[in-house]
């Protein structure tokens, strides 16, 4: 353990076995962080603590909160936010950006293929049962041509830095990836609290997400529409991501609708306004596939719009992301990403995949069962960090329990070596000091027709519990502002 001189970092303990984002192996602050380190060092820990309180109340007053339900009453909480930003230098970012676009494009071509000719399966590169057994595969989408040929308009790719200093992709979230609004909120809060630090860095803006999103969504408008009307559909104000839905609608300048505000007539979609019906052409939906249309999917859904899918099949409305897109962010499909990228784009993957063992293959299953203590076991169809077991954290009894689960349904599980996420100094309010915490990075990509956009920033998520590797907000994670520096 090395101690570092600097007022607020004086008690920072550096564990040399972890990859620290701001210190190199010899304990020196990396070049890009030097200025920031000095600037923050001018503050006392008390100053910092009071800035932290102010930033929190700013979030609270703006209503950037989520509900926590307990027995007695529901409580409003803010997402934990750290005032010490993460910095990514231009070269590294350029690499991430190219890698993210490459993956999004490959996934889009993959989706087109598996909902049309299934060439990749016929050529034996991806097994059929991988697709057909996925809960997110929608047979209703077979042969449907999405407007603009885009399935995954919006992706949120989760990337980590391993202790070898390289980036690895953990997940391609292409169902309804959320949390982009926190990127912008974090930036706003940091600017309010510590505006001075921005004078010393040339940082890319993150406030242009909504305008780019709208522009790119509009490139995928249905055939024959001149000026498309776009809406955001939300399950309603009690949804935990409602703030984000309203934020996106507001910043795009479009209506935020609920299922009950829309109806379908002659396979066209309309919204009910104070002046009567108005036609809707593009729907950015924040409702899961199975709830979008009670006539086609779950009949008990009151969130969706009856007849929406029929209108979609006729090409009269764009739905982003397209129904059935989830089949490609299945964790088992993930393991074929290198093959998928090579097959459709004829390129080498830019970003690394974490090596993955498929429990559906008998020899790999055997390896997994014998080596659980050094693997992460993940269900293929869960999101939000649920159901993940980290081998070296389990007791003997727990290992047996996991083995039993895996054996009972091998197709449901994959295993990966335990990746060591990099760590970043994070202010821990309880201890009034900075400590190392594991971080990842969610990169937001938008695909349009022959055009794409990557938000220069992304969301650095922090696992606030010491040693914890799961950064999801539903599991007690926080976040950091992320600066991508200009060249």
């Amino acid at each position: 353990m090395t101690k570092i001189k600097n007022q607020i970092f004086s008690s920072y303990q550096r564990n040399p076995s972890l990859y620290d984002e701001i210190y190199d192996n010899d304990g020196n602050v990396k070049d890009v962080y030097k200025k920031l380190f000095d600037l923050y060092g001018e503050h006392s820990i008390d100053d910092y603590a009071s800035l932290n309180v102010k930033a929190r109340s700013s979030f609270f007053n703006q209503g950037i909160t989520f509900q926590v339900y307990s027995k007695k009453k529901s409580q409003e909480k803010i997402f934990p936010f750290d005032l010490f930003p993460r910095i990514i230098d231009p070269k590294e970012w350029e690499f991430i950006e190219r890698g993210a676009i490459q993956r999004s494009k490959a996934l889009n071509l993959f989706l087109w293929d598996i909902y049309h000719e299934k060439k990749i399966i016929k050529q034996g590169l991806v097994p059929m049962e991988l697709i057909s057994s996925s809960g997110n595969y929608l047979h209703q989408m077979m042969g449907v041509d999405p407007p603009g040929d885009i399935y995954n308009h919006i992706s949120g790719i989760d990337i980590i830095k391993h202790n070898d200093g390289n980036y690895y992709v953990l997940e391609d979230n292409i169902r309804c990836p959320s949390e982009v609004s926190y990127v912008i909120c974090n930036r706003t809060a940091l600017k309010r609290a510590l505006f001075g630090v921005f004078n010393h860095y040339q940082t890319h803006t993150v406030t242009d997400y909504a305008e780019n999103l709208l522009e790119l969504l509009e490139t995928t408008k249905p055939h024959g529409v001149d000026i498309p009307v776009c809406v955001v559909i939300t399950p309603g104000m009690y949804n935990s991501a409602y703030y984000e839905h309203s934020y996106l609608a507001k910043t795009m300048g479009v209506e935020l609708v609920e299922g009950r505000d829309l109806f379908v007539e002659n396979d066209f979609v309309y919204m009910k306004t104070i002046r009567g019906p108005q036609k809707v052409d593009i729907i950015y939906r924040r409702i899961d596939d199975l709830f979008i249309d009670p006539l086609e999917f779950r009949p008990d859904s009151s969130l969706g719009v009856p007849g929406l899918f029929a209108a979609y099949k006729k090409g009269n409305v764009t739905i982003a992301n397209a129904p059935g897109t989830g089949v490609a962010d299945d964790k088992a499909v993930y393991t074929y990403m290198p093959e998928i990228i090579k097959y459709y784009l004829n390129e080498e993957p830019i970003l690394n995949n974490v090596h993955t063992y498929h429990c559906s293959r008998p020899d790999e299953l055997k390896y997994v069962l014998d080596n659980i203590h050094q693997l992460v076991i993940k269900p293929v169809d869960e999101a939000g960090g649920y159901g993940i077991s980290i081998g070296n954290r389990l007791t003997k009894e727990e290992i047996e329990e996991v083995k039993k689960q895996v054996k009972s349904d091998p197709r449901r599980y994959v295993a990966q070596p335990i990746m060591s996420l990099s760590v970043h100094p994070t202010y821990i309010a309880k201890k009034e000091s900075f400590e190392q915490r594991h971080v990842d990075l969610r990169v937001f990509t938008v695909l349009g027709k022959e055009k794409e956009f990557v938000l220069k920033g992304g969301l650095t998520r922090v696992a606030l519990k010491k040693g914890n590797l799961i950064v999801n907000s539903s599991q007690g994670g926080g976040s950091k502002d992320t600066w991508v520096l200009k060249k």
Binding site: Q62, M237, H245, L256, K272
Partner: protein, 315 residues
Amino acid sequence: MLARVADNLFWMGRYIERSEHIARYLSVNYFSSLDAPNDLSQSRPFVLRSMLFMVGEPQADKSMDIIEEEVLFNIGLNPESAYSILNNVKNARENANSARDLISTGLYESINKFYHFIINYDPAVLVKNGLHDFTTNVTEMTAVLRGKIRGTLLHNEAYAIIMMGVNIERATQIIRMINAKYRDALEAQGSYGDKFSNSFEWTTLLKCAESYDMMRRLYKKPPNSISTLEFLILNPNCPRSIMNSLNQVYKHIRDLDTSKHYNKNATAFLVGKVRSEYEYKHIEEIEGDIQNFIEDILSRLVQISTKMEKEYFNY
């Protein structure tokens, strides 16, 4: 604009306005009774009953024992009573929430702060010695909200709808106050030196409507029944008068309904009709039959609200 969202904005306006009038009614009545000139106006149960009557609590009439702490809690912070200020603010925020993409960040932030102020206010403090602090904060925050509505929103249909809600509610609350104070003045007459026409209650009524100073400025005489009612009902320059509220409602419905031809089924037509009727009333007509007047104007306001619902909020 979505019909559902329009409905929510209309009610957001109404709930904000309502919480202000209830808060001021509580505070003015309570504090002016402390040194009121006659015994009845000074009696605490009399004042508390008046408060309950104003918010429409059915218990108000019964001659049951009345406990000050309970009344203040029920009207101020009781989550179980529908008319409480707490519930009004909660409803205002819920309505704002569902139109969050449409209103300004500044307006939402102020409503949100208002809500957190109210739900975190300690009921024990309110009923013990916090009444003035609590009600002053409520009336000030509603003023901030009105400022944000006017100063940060686009003056388009959404604005027109919010302002219609605000003004319909204002007229309704002023009428409810007139009704309650008229009743109090009747009850208090005959007490020492106090006649109905120059009852102390008229002063209280004007203060409840925050119109006392301006009324004195205009009439230069102590208020009596006629001058008070004239000022609060018919004076178009008094921002809280019924006449002014109707003028405002008319102005905003014309922003919403720009058709040149009269359609006798339109909300705009009804508003115009009611407004012109009141424009040509004089106070003697009203003063002679105040009870009928109150019922009439309340039912007209309900008609306007219902018609709006049918014409614009039907979803």
